[in-house]
């Protein structure tokens, strides 16, 4: 296995690379590297379809918003009536391309942090946090768990109401589902807070049964990740053109071979042999 802190460093580095450039080539390579890593280390029984749907939907939304809201660019595809609020004006090839680029960046960032959720257990993520961020990490992880809990409660309450004869009839009828869901969520939060307090949350430093040992592969992952992020940040400060803007006229993005190598370094965890999981 790869140590949780090495995963954390890898995710941070991948996010830095994905968001430090607007070049779609580098962002695309980060997406590919993250998918490779995720498929290599995906535990048995974990489904990635919800992640794929989320990534595709979020990216498409970002692309659509940019395409409709920005009206610059030389190559006009279609002109919407200017009387239409926000979306009225020219829809250009440049805005479509930049929207797709934004979507690619979003996909890269989402896939970069996916291993923290799909590969690691929640307590691994908390252990991987630096000590000063430990309590914040627990609070954030707990909040995120409530999101899925909220979804489960919503489905349960809706099913129960349907069995009692409730049918959705307009927006107001959803009160009969939302009110119990909110009340249940508050009750669950109070229960969770009491459980955490009973187990000594905030009373002292978090302890663990066994300390995770660092291996050569953890070190290699950290070095490759930090090297990749440093390459992008360093070359940006050195004045190398790592960005791409399609305005005013679309053009192919410039590609620096060293930055391509930097993206490839992020795929290092995908080349490591994963230990066989126990049945």
């Amino acid at each position: 296995m790869i140590a949780p802190r090495a995963w954390l460093v890898w995710s941070l580095a991948a996010v830095v690379v994905a968001l430090s450039t607007t070049n779609p080539v580098y962002r695309g390579l980060v997406v590919l590297a993250a998918v490779d890593v995720l498929l290599t280390w995906l535990p048995a029984g974990r489904r990635i379809r919800p992640l794929v749907i989320t990534v595709v939907a979020a990216s498409a939304f970002a692309a659509l918003v940019n395409a409709l809201a920005a009206h610059t660019g030389a190559d006009v595809v279609i002109s919407l009536p200017s009387s239409w609020p926000l979306v009225g004006g020219n829809l250009t090839l440049e805005t479509l391309a930049f929207g797709a680029d934004l979507g690619l960046g979003l996909a890269a960032a989402l896939l970069a942090v996916a291993p923290l959720s799909f590969v690691l257990e929640p307590h691994d993520v908390v252990d991987a946090m630096p000590d000063p961020l430990e309590r914040t990490g627990i609070a954030v992880a707990t909040s995120l768990n409530l999101v899925s809990g909220f979804g489960r409660t919503f489905a349960a309450v809706r099913d129960a109401q349907l069995m009692r004869g409730w049918r959705p009839r307009g927006l107001r009828s959803w009160n009969e589902v939302l009110v119990p869901v909110v009340l249940t969520a508050i009750e669950d939060s109070v229960l969770l807070a009491e459980a955490m307090e009973a187990r000594g949350f905030g009373a002292g430093r978090r302890t663990s049964y066994s300390a995770a040992r660092w291996s050569a592969r953890d070190l290699a992952v950290v070095l490759a990740s930090v090297g990749s992020a440093a390459l992008f940040v360093g070359l940006r400060f050195a004045g190398v053109a790592i960005d791409w803007f399609p305005y005013p006229t679309i053009d192919l993005p410039p590609i620096e071979p060293s930055l391509v190598a930097g993206c490839l370094m992020l795929a290092l965890p995908a080349l490591m042999r994963r230990p066989r999981s126990r049945p």
């Binding site: 080539v25 695309g28 390579l29 997406v31 590919l32 590297a33 998918v35 490779d36 498929l39 290599t40 995906l42 048995a44 029984g45 974990r46 489904r47 990635i48 379809r49 794929v52 610059t72 030389a74 190398v240 053109a241 960005d243 803007f245 305005y247 005013p248 006229t249 053009d251 192919l252 410039p254 590609i255 620096e256 071979p257 391509v260 190598a261 993206c263 490839l264 795929a267 995908a270 080349l271």
Partner: protein, 234 residues
């Protein structure tokens, strides 16, 4: 559990297939349309007359082009259009058309001329010295042997002329090679340091080659991993 595993494998395989196809498509498009591709002609002009174009960016990098044309004269706007450089402009009454962005500088602008800088236009007649053009590029007339120059200057700076156009269309400098036998138009190499060092003589840009290879390797690896997942699924 079995259906979960199978669904995971199928979803992963589908994702990997989409990525592999996308990467391969991008690779083909990039190689076909990228710099250095034989499918893309960077100069569309043809004819016995030539005019030079010199563009000096704000960072000092210089781009030169030699454009051939058949008529006795062309406008500065036509020269820009035929040079293959990307540009955009606006028309200002009797001045004519002004250049707002040229060769991706500035990358984006809200007003033209921009708040930080603008493209100063120069003209050199018959191999002479640069003279600041009093008219826009749409009314600037260029004949055989003339040159059009652009320099991106800051709002507070003086419009210093760009480097001389001597040699851009032959003369003391090495003559530019024709891009295709069908057109006599010639293009000199980009003198931008990054571009020149990155371009292999007559070959594909090493950056594009690296990106294509990297993309195919990563997509192939994703396919392998997806196949492994599918095999492991009961």
């Amino acid at each position: 559990m079995g259906s979960l595993g199978r669904g995971r494998g199928v979803a992963a395989a589908g994702l990997a297939s989409v990525l592999a196809v996308a990467a391969a498509t991008l690779a083909v498009v990039y190689v076909a349309l990228g710099p250095g591709s034989p499918l893309v002609a960077t100069c569309a002009g043809a004819g016995p007359n030539h005019a030079a174009l010199v563009v000096e960016h704000g960072d000092g990098s210089v781009v030169t082009r030699c454009v051939a044309f058949g008529s006795t004269s062309i406008t500065g706007e036509q020269l820009l259009d035929q040079s293959g450089l990307s540009w955009s402009g606006e028309t200002f009454g009797s001045y004519g058309r002004a250049v707002c962005a040229l060769d991706s500088e500035p990358a984006r602008y809200a007003t033209c001329p921009g708040a930080d800088g603008y493209w100063a236009v120069f003209e050199a007649t018959g191999g002479g010295l640069w003279v600041l053009s009093p008219v826009g590029i749409s009314t600037l007339s260029l004949a055989d042997g003339d040159a059009e120059g652009f320099r991106y200057v800051s709002d507070s700076g003086d419009p210093v002329p760009p480097p001389s156009a001597t040699g851009v269309c032959g003369g003391s400098a090495p003559p530019a090679a024709p891009k295709t036998p069908a057109t006599a138009a010639t293009t000199t190499a980009t003198t931008s340091a990054a571009g020149a060092s990155a371009r292999l003589a007559g070959g594909v840009d090493p950056g594009i080659l690296a990106a294509v290879v990297a993309g195919l390797v990563l997509a192939g690896l994703a396919g392998l991993r997806a196949a492994t997942l599918r095999r492991r699924a009961p």
